[in-house]
């Protein structure tokens, strides 16, 4: 007997309408339908969800931690993107 396990899926759950889906964990499943069932039976036992996304883990493209600084540091010195960068006299309202 081959020892090949069912593929891994990542599970994302919307806990209630109005919120975005959030990563909950993972499950193994042989196919997409089974992955949805397994996600439901594993991660919504306490009414934690109103919607589930599942995606094969090997289909996710992730950034590389080794490139973290190249990816994310350049945003740090763009302080002019934040509203607090700008000095406006207190008398001016509704800005």
């Amino acid at each position: 007997m081959t020892r090949q396990e069912w593929p891994l899926y990542e599970v994302f759950i919307r806990t209630r309408s109005g919120l975005s889906h959030r990563h909950a964990g993972s499950v193994h499943a042989a196919d997409d339908e089974m992955a949805l069932n397994n996600a439901r039976d594993t991660y919504t036992r306490r009414s934690e969800g109103v919607s589930i996304w599942v995606v094969r883990s090997d289909r996710i493209v992730a950034s590389d931690p080794a490139e973290t600084s190249a990816f994310f540091d350049p945003a740090e010195d763009k302080i002019y993107r934040h509203p607090t960068f700008y000095d406006i006299p207190d008398e001016v309202e509704n800005l």
């Binding site: 007997m1 081959t2 020892r3 090949q4 396990e5 069912w6 593929p7 891994l8 990542e10 990563h23 964990g25 993972s26 499950v27 193994h28 042989a30 196919d31 089974m34 594993t42 036992r45 306490r46 094969r56 883990s57 090997d58 996710i60 992730a62 590389d64 931690p65 080794a66």
Partner: protein, 331 residues
């Protein structure tokens, strides 16, 4: 979410990793000391990875094997309410095993490998689950004592330095909050019941007290992995500290039930404000850990049978998925 499957194409696994330099190790320790969480694909020392794989998979195996002693009374639960509660609890254990296997999988080990190690007897799991559940009161004792001890171990793990483990433990602890309470309430019902029920409760405490204390592991002096695990913030308190805390909170709970803790030498030290207890029979602990407990063989045999009986089912599901995928590709 950082899983084995997320490895970028073309990058080598741990085998091609360059030797760990002093600078890397220092930088890693600095992150740990700053209470930063380590995530799956971050650089980490091989020993850290191995320690985590060992600990998380043992933890997962314990949840899975731990379904058996309680599962033993599912079909005989005395009321519909108790049956539902116990079933929900045993199901949680399956869920917790699943969360933990997933957390370990982020470190580059497959569930198949871990399960293989469990079934071959290579991997260890908590010694407590190798004791039999002989009466219904054992279900109460397990909830009260075993889950009580487990919670004490697990709450610090919610702050473990490894992100996926810490997140899994937060979920586990949240879900387990009812487990200990239902066990104590079950014991309370028995202790307020008939003489036979009360005797049943006392007998369960007699049999589970010492094995529950052993759950915290060997004395600090004899614990081989403790110091490094503490430095890496995988572990936050020593075995003896947690064991003492457990005894201190549990003895008054036993007194409230009107049960006696099976340790004639137990006394409360007013100076230290801790209970002093007799020595633990470490020979028994090491026997059970190395395979010679009352139920070791039985527990593994049942797990192996479930695994073997399920082989054709898992295979069929894969074959069906392959056929469907091929049909879709052709369409």
């Amino acid at each position: 979410m950082y899983t084995q499957g997320l490895d970028q194409a073309g990058k080598g696994g741990p085998d091609t990793r360059e030797a760990e330099s002093r600078a890397q190790l220092d930088a890693f320790q600095a992150r740990i000391d700053a209470e930063e969480k380590i995530e799956a694909k971050d650089w980490m020392p091989e020993a850290y990875r191995r320690t985590l794989i060992r600990q998380i998979s043992q933890h997962a195996h314990s949840e899975i094997i731990g379904m058996q002693p309680e599962g033993n009374w599912l079909t005989r639960a005395p009321t519909m309410k108790r049956k539902a509660i116990l079933l929900a609890k045993v199901q949680d254990e399956a869920g917790h095993g699943l969360y933990l296997y997933s957390a370990a999988e982020t470190l580059g080990v497959s569930r198949d490998e871990m399960v293989g190690d469990l079934l071959s007897g290579k991997a260890k799991y908590s010694s407590i689950f190798n004791y039999p559940t002989l009466t219904w009161a054992d279900i109460g004792a397990i909830g009260w004592l075993v889950d009580g001890a487990a919670i004490m171990n697990q709450i610090p793990l919610c702050r473990c330095s490894y992100g996926p483990y810490s997140r899994a433990m937060i979920r586990v602890c949240k879900e387990e909050s009812f487990h200990q309470r239902q066990g104590y309430e079950l014991m309370l019902t028995l202790c307020r019941g008939t003489d036979e029920q009360k005797a049943m409760a006392q007998d369960a405490l007699n049999r589970f007290w010492w094995p529950a204390l052993m759950m915290f592991g060997p004395n600090d002096a004899a614990s081989s992995h403790s110091a490094q695990s503490m430095a890496w913030k995988i572990k936050r308190f020593s075995n003896d500290e947690l064991r003492q805390k457990f005894i201190d909170v549990t003895v008054p709970q036993a007194e409230f039930l009107g049960l006696s803790v099976p340790d004639a030498a137990l006394w409360f030290n007013e100076n230290t404000e801790h209970y002093e207890h007799s020595d633990i029979d470490w020979q028994e602990f090491f026997d059970v850990i190395s395979g010679n407990g009352p139920c070791n063989r039985q527990r593994l045999a049942k797990r192996r049978k479930a695994h073997d009986d399920g082989a054709w089912v898992r295979e069929a599901a894969r074959a069906y998925a392959d056929k469907k995928a091929a049909a879709e590709a052709a369409a």
